[in-house]
Amino acid sequence: MDVALKIWRFDPQSGERVLREYEVDAPEWACLLDVLDLIKDKHDGTLAYRKSCRMMICGSCGMRMDGRAVLACKERMKPIVDAGHVPVISAMGNMPVLKDLVVDMGPFWGKIRSVKPWLDPGYDEVAEKERVVSQQEMNVIHKEALCIMCGCCVSECNSMEADPEFTGPAALAKGFRFVGDARDQADVERLNALNGEHGIWDCTRCYFCNERCPKGVDPRDAIAKLGAESVKQGIDHDMGAKHAKWFVRSAETTGWLRETELVPKTQGLVSAIKQTGFALKLARKGKVPPPFPPHVAADVKEARALRELTQEQGREGALGIVQGEHALGRIEFTEEAGVRENAPEIQPGVEPPHAEG
């Protein structure tokens, strides 16, 4: 089959960025990586990209196709060719481009290193008897252990775009892989390090990481597990944790969010007072609902009783998320077909987003 591609080329010496189009004859089973190999082999030996295993294990060939971070070895080209589409290939986002499709993963590895990705078993001398980990214990970190550190989750991370220092989805998922490990004894220390600036509460819940991960790690869920473990351990000094806890308090007292009290409960009274000017402007438009009398849901005592029950039943912390993973893994189809019959023809105003050169 004839495959056409557009590739954002970047030459670090001249600083030139150009979008080049290529056409190659490729076998029907070809994936994006095969096509890049053919281009490099037959058309342009200067094209730069990373690859190794060609089977979704090594995590080397992360790049963007039409603005989405993908593993080049996982994307089959036939459906794209059949649709008559010419995809745009570019380097991953949130990482500096070195040449063409090769990004500098230095900052990425720095963040992975910062979460101390090794087991801290809490002893100096190895015990005589082997420590056996049960399947049940391993299930807690099963998904996070699947990570191949390709960087696809980081590529479109909205919080990292806004704050390049944000620890980010890959490193935080790695962090939970050790916090949740039954053999690790440093969970409190780890959680303390991951709270605070650039840590877990920086996540804006855009869910791009879950959407992009080619291995089903679901980094956003790992971040939520870290949050849940922090709250369980009483590590709640971060404003993010205070914010989250106020929703729990609201639900068990009035049923609905006590919206106006959210600011002082999150930021503390002093910071909240500094927001008075802003709050008054909002209040004039009715955007600051009076906390009294509270908006109380009918039968709210049921919601309160449910909290008491769940606290007694020992599934707090990450377990509360892990228990639902089996079911979420069984979503085999989406019931809404999402037919495009009403979709208007949109002329995209811009090319798909591309990585910074």
Binding site: N158, S159, D163, F166, W201, T204, R205, C206, Y207, E211, A224, G227, A228, V231, D238, M239, G240, H243, A244, K245, W246, V248, A251, G255, W256, L257, E259, T266, Q267, F278, K281, K285, K287, V288, A298, D299, V300, L306, L309, T310, E316, A318, L319, G320, I321, Q323, G324, A327, L328, I331, T334, E335, E336, G338, V339, R340, N342, P344, V350, P353
Partner: protein, 294 residues
């Protein structure tokens, strides 16, 4: 009439009352009979999922159980965050009998009806972007939008994770554009329409949130939009109210009117100001109402 259980969520009952009133006034024109749920609570907004996930599951199971008790097949939401939280819990309860049995036992203990897993959670957007809902929309929007240039802002949690939401391609969504066009407006395209508005961290990490928020507003202005529309009251609050803070931090006054989905359709369907309540917006909607002479 399509009878649906109606979940307002927190904001539409509090700071975004205009969304609730516009939705209620609009629903019959779209062939929707809304059955209000009396004793439901907050879905947890992702925050209870992060603080006490087991409690999150039970709160959402309780909402689903009361929705099922109305006899409606659909639980209609008008907020992205409610949509994701309820659908996520729903899949967990539908696909895992053991988990559902445990949750139901707890619901029974506190006097809530059991949930059998038969309810579908759907956002208003999805009910009117295709099929019968879309046909009703075309009829309802008789006054049109006179070619108003509208920038659709989807927000995150109605697109991603697509495994749980799954209505449309999360990278090339079309539903808002279809609705804008059916109402007689001109959809404006810009890349940040699928990105985050920053709202979940606007209290805890304001600076990070604001540098996310500015992107869609700036791009919509550049693309020549008269207004933006969003299906999420949290995105609305951040795009509308926090635009004030952007003015302070960047010195730029975007003056971009932000409409709730129900308000945009409401204008095209001839709803009154008493129902649309544009006066409750922080950024003036006057440029839009003047252009449309309403």
């Amino acid at each position: 009439m399509n009878r649906v259980a109606y979940y307002t969520g927190c904001l539409a009952a509090l700071s975004a009352k205009e969304l609730n009133s516009a939705t209620k006034a609009l629903a019959p024109k779209l062939g929707l009979e809304l059955v209000e749920l009396e004793s439901v609570t907050c879905c947890g907004a992702g925050d209870i999922h992060e603080a006490e996930p087991d409690y999150y599951l039970h709160l959402n199971a309780r909402i689903l159980a009361y929705a099922e008790a109305t006899g409606c097949e659909t639980l209609m939401t008008i907020c992205n965050v409610c949509t994701l939280n309820l659908r996520q819990a729903n899949w967990q309860l539908k696909n895992d009998q053991e988990l559902r049995a445990r949750v139901n036992k707890n619901l029974k203990t506190v006097g809530v009806p059991a949930y059998s897993g038969e309810v579908e959670v759907r956002h208003l957007l999805w009910l009117i972007a295709e099929g019968d809902g879309y046909e009703q929309l075309k009829t309802a929007a008789h006054k049109g939008l006179k070619g108003l240039k509208v920038a659709p802002f989807y927000g995150c949690q109605i697109l991603r994770p697509s495994k749980i939401l799954g209505f449309e391609d999360p990278d090339r969504p079309w539903s808002l554009e279809a609705i804008i066009q059916a109402c007689g407006g001109e959809p404006i395209d810009y890349p940040a329409k699928i990105k985050c508005c920053g709202f979940p961290i606007i209290q805890a990490r304001e600076e990070v949130a604001l540098s996310e928020l500015i992107q869609p507003i700036e791009q919509a202005v550049e693309a020549g939009a008269d207004a933006m529309v969003t299906p999420c009251p949290l995105c609305h609050l951040s795009l509308d109210a926090w635009q004030l803070k952007l003015r302070k931090s960047t010195g730029k006054d975007f003056a971009m009117p932000i409409l709730h989905l129900s308000q945009l359709i409401g204008v095209a369907a001839g709803l009154e100001e008493s129902e649309l309540k544009f006066k409750r917006h922080v950024v003036s909607v006057d440029p839009v109402t003047q252009k449309l002479e309403v």
